[in-house]
Each structure stands twice: as structure tokens, then as C-alpha cells.
Amino acid sequence: MVVSTLKIVVCVKTVPSIEEKVELNTEETDIRKENLVFGINEWDSYALEEAVLIKERTGGTVTVVTLGPDETHLERLVRECFARGADEATMVADPALRSADGMATAKILQRVIEDMSPDLVLTGVQSSDDGYGQVGGALAHMLGMPHVSAVTRLDLKDDAVLAEQELEGGLYRVARTKIPSLFAIQTGINTPRYPSLLKIRAAMRREIKKFELAELGISEADIRGWSAGRIRKIFFPKASTELEFIKGTPDEVATRLSEIVARMVL
């Protein structure tokens, strides 16, 4: 079979940037997110770029799909994806998604994606906020597709796909599969392009398909049922007991550091 109009779906997530500002919420079940800056999950920017590269080589369409509790964040994410080369977008914004874990997320993605009958589904290896590393594999099963995770090379030839999976310590495993299939993309596979200002402006006018959970026949109880359990509490990890913070002016710090390593090395 020769596929001339490849249908590629990319799952993208918007995640908070967390440098320097992590505080727990009052219930101690999550961090406070009100003042955090959101942007595309690092792994998903590589997945999207890979989809656009495939489209540019073989023809086809790239559809991004995203879920999340905050409509404004999702819309900004989708506009950025348009500017980076996506053709279509579907989003599901609903506050109830706050409590969806990896398995519940995969279930909802399945509802959105199965009607699209994609040839290829790309996800990131993991999301930088939740770090489940499970949505791709679970979704593949739900869509009845084989998958390869942590993909560092993807070659398409008609309906055959050669995928290189990254294992540990500089070892890779090369596997062959057929479309339709799902691949969880690892960073470094390509160089994601920066969207130009012109493209960002053009993306403002593009149409986005929006769903609410109820339209997909999904309730908050479903999400709870699909999730593995409930978060009792969150807390900061303990520092190693040996840790000493060196304080002072840069000059004082530099002096102390040189003393420490002088003993060690010189």
C-alpha cells in the first residue's frame, strides 16, 4: 500500500516552567500554578517537528491534539503549533482534567483520536510536569496500534516504519513496524524550528476544534475511575544530610570553593 495522504496526529501538552518558584497549594496535593509561565512540553516540540518533517517529505496532514484544564493555555499552545507547521488542531479544555493521570489522559485522547483514523500518532516520551512516561504506550494499546518508545530515529518507507529506540548507556534497538502505529519521540531526534513572527500572526486566524468533556460522553467520575488512585499529599524531597550551602559574596564563595577543591585535586 502506498500512502499518499498520510494522516499524522501529534499529542501535545502545555506545561509550567518551574525554575525558582515552586510552592505547595493549601491542600498540599499539587503546586501553585497561578503565576507560572506555560509552554510546550520539551518532548512534544520534537514530536511535532518530526511530524512536520515527515509531512514535508511525503505529503499529508499534521493534526495536534491537546487536553488540559485551562482553555487560554491550550489555545496559546495550539497557536504555537500552527506556527510550527501543524495543519489542524483539536483541544479539550475542562477544569475536571486537573485530576486526570496518565491512564485517564490516554483514555480521553483515544476518544478524540480514534475517529480521525490516523496513520501515525506521535507523542513525547514524557511530560516534564507529571513525568508519567505512560500516555504514549497506553494510548497505542487503546487505539489498537503497535508502538515504539524513546524514538531517536524514524524512517518511513511506504507503510513500513523503521524506528530506533534509545535504551540505556548509549545502546539503541532498531525495530520495524507497519502503520498505523504510535511512536513516543525522544529529544535530540531533530532540531525543532522556531516559528517566525509572520507565522505566529497567521496562526491567530486558524480554526481550532474545541470539545468539552460532556460532548465526548466523559464525566468527572470516569476520570476518577480511570486514574490509578488519589494523591494523598505532596511534599519536598529531603536533601542529602551532607549538603552544605556555601553562602557569601561571589568572591567569598569562590575562595571557599577553591579551598575545597585544592584539598581534593591540586
Binding site: I18, L167, R230, L243, S258, M264
Partner: protein, 326 residues
């Protein structure tokens, strides 16, 4: 529901450490729940792997052999494990949070309709209820999750988190279990392994490593770290974003998918300390970390920490070392 099941991980005939680490934690769970600890070994002609694992004294080793399991595929593992899990209904099935484990555990759990908690750093049973600890936000916070495990559960376990089980008596009995994997079941065909081509420095041999992360900002700034490394007789290492962008070759990468290092001195500059990085360097003799973010997880593993802009400190530090050296 009377057992804890550990899925052994092995590759090219070698048993991976995470298997023994899971036996340690699995034994604790088994005691808490008054359960048996079983280890499943899948493959083709892997009897010697099963015997080796039996010496670490689980209660039983289940040996599932089939020619379709000669090389790892997610379909092969899922098909074999689904029938074992359906039959034995373990309270908890433990899988390594490794390249293979993260490849098959999610689809296995989805297929069985079982809850999955990934990348666990602690596990315990409270009156039969599984309580799993995992991290969010790349190691910035820990969370305790109460798992709805009434029908069983699957967890993936972070490597290097628990001490490996030592050989002990009595050696476990190895029991063959029937696994049937039809030829049409495996949809991803294994072709070959490939190893990273290396040419230059072997960072795992260096006594001093100055490792740079995304905080170095741009390629040109590497010279700041290089000057420090030169004075200390060390070499530059890197976190993944630095090698992804090609600022340093891949062979300089420290971590799960890079190299595991254990130098006398490890200096982390602008590295946050994601677990995949930590796994590759946490047993270094002396760890010094400089990071702007006082809550960066790297500090949880460091001996000395400096909360500062690395560009304010490193050039001065280098200068003082140069004076010392004369």
C-alpha cells in the same frame, strides 16, 4: 491475590540491576501483606537467567520461555505477562522504569485495565492498600498516591533507588509456566542493536568532571567551564540538553542514556538534577552544584551547594585556582 510479582529485566544474557533492586522492595511488600514474592523471567532459553535470579531467594521464579520471546518486543512481553497476571492475580506487579519497562508497562496496564503508577521511588502496603511514592515536576516534589488496587496493580520502579538483593538461602524453586505468543501477536520486529560510536574522551575514566547543563545558556559559554576543568585536570561532561543541541558530543552525556560516572569530584553547573541525570552521577565521591534555583533537585544529592548565577562564580573560582597554582 496472594503474591507480589517482579518482572525480571535482562538483555543479551545479562540480568539488569533493577531486577535485584525490585526483589529487595518486593520482599518488603510481601512481608507487609503476608504474600509470596515471585519473579517472572521471560525469553527463549533463559534457564540460566532464572537460576541466577533464584539465588537471590524470592519465593518462586516463573520461567516463561517461547521462541517469539527471543528478543524483547512489547507485544511479546505483554502477551506473555497478560496471561500470567490474569492467572495469578498478583497484588502488585513490579516492572523496572527502564527503556523496556516504560515501553511495555503502559500498554500492558491498559490491556488488563489495571492501575499503573510509574517511576515509583517507594512502595508500601497499608492494610492491603498500595501506597506509592513518585515525583512530579522533574524531582521537585514527592507525592504519595493511594492506589485503587482491589483488582491488582502495576508499578514501574526507578532504577538505583533500592539496594540490590544479595544471594541468600533458600534458593527459590524455578517453575516453568506456559506462555503462548502467536506469530501474528508481535507487530514490531526486532532488527538489531546499535551502539553509540565514540571517538574521543571516555568521561567515565576521568577523576574530575565539570558537567554543564542547560544553564550554560549557549555554546560559546562552554569556555567558562573548560577553563575551570583545565585547572583541575578534568574534562567536560554534560546533561542531555547540551548534547541534544550538539554543543558537546553525545559521548560526554552523563545519565541513564549517557554514561554512568563516579569521579573523585563532580561539579554540576546549571544542571537541575532530573532523575535520569542523577542516576548517572550520584555515587561520585564529592559533588559540588551551582544553580540559581535553591530548590533544584541537584542540591538533594550534592555535598556542597551554591545558589548563584554560575557566571558570577565560576570565573572568579577559576581565577583563584590559577593564583593558587602559581
Amino acid at each position: 491475590m496472594s503474591e507480589i510479582l517482579v518482572v525480571a529485566e535482562h538483555r543479551k544474557g545479562a540480568i539488569r540491576d533493577v531486577t535485584y533492586e525490585m526483589i529487595t522492595k518486593g520482599r518488603e511488600l510481601a512481608e507487609q501483606g503476608d504474600l509470596d514474592l515471585c519473579v517472572a523471567v521471560l525469553g527463549d532459553e533463559v534457564g540460566s537467567v532464572a537460576d541466577e535470579i533464584a539465588k537471590r531467594a524470592p519465593d518462586k521464579v516463573l520461567l516463561g520461555e517461547h521462541e517469539a520471546l527471543r528478543e524483547y518486543t512489547h507485544d511479546g512481553y505483554e502477551t506473555a505477562l497478560a496471561s500470567i497476571i490474569r492467572e495469578r492475580t498478583p497484588v502488585v506487579t513490579m516492572v523496572g522504569h527502564t527503556a523496556y519497562g516504560t515501553d511495555f508497562a503502559p500498554s500492558l496496564a491498559a490491556g488488563l485495565g489495571l492501575p499503573l503508577v510509574s517511576d515509583c521511588i517507594d512502595l508500601r502496603l497499608e492494610d492491603g492498600v498500595l501506597v506509592a511514592t513518585r515525583q512530579f515536576y522533574q524531582g521537585r516534589v514527592n507525592a504519595e498516591i493511594e492506589v485503587d488496587n482491589s483488582r491488582g496493580s502495576i508499578v514501574t520502579v526507578r532504577p538505583t533507588e533500592f539496594p540490590p538483593a544479595s544471594p541468600a538461602e533458600p534458593k527459590a524453586k524455578v517453575e516453568s509456566v506456559e506462555v503462548s505468543v502467536g506469530p501474528e501477536a508481535v507487530r514490531t520486529e526486532f532488527l538489531e542493536f546499535r551502539e553509540l560510536e565514540t571517538a574521543g574522551v571516555d568521561i567515565s575514566q576521568a577523576a574530575v568532571l565539570v558537567a554543564v547543563g542547560r544553564g550554560i545558556g549557549e555554546e560559546e559559554n562552554l569556555s567558562v567551564a573548560q577553563a575551570l576543568a583545565d585547572l583541575l585536570g578534568g574534562v567536560l561532561g554534560a546533561s542531555r540538553p547540551v548534547t541534544d543541541q550538539g554543543w558537546l558530543p553525545k559521548e560526554r552525556q552523563v545519565g541513564q542514556t549517557g554514561k554512568t560516572v563516579k569521579p573523585k569530584l563532580y561539579i554540576a553547573l546549571g544542571i537541575s538534577g532530573a532523575m535520569q541525570h542523577i542516576m548517572g552521577m550520584k555515587s561520585s565521591d564529592l559533588i559540588i552544584a551551582i544553580n540559581k534555583d535553591p530548590k533544584a533537585p541537584i542540591f538533594n544529592y550534592a555535598h556542597y551547594g551554591v545558589v548563584a548565577d554560575l557566571f558570577d562564580v565560576v570565573p572568579l573560582w577559576t581565577e583563584k585556582l590559577r593564583e593558587k597554582k602559581g
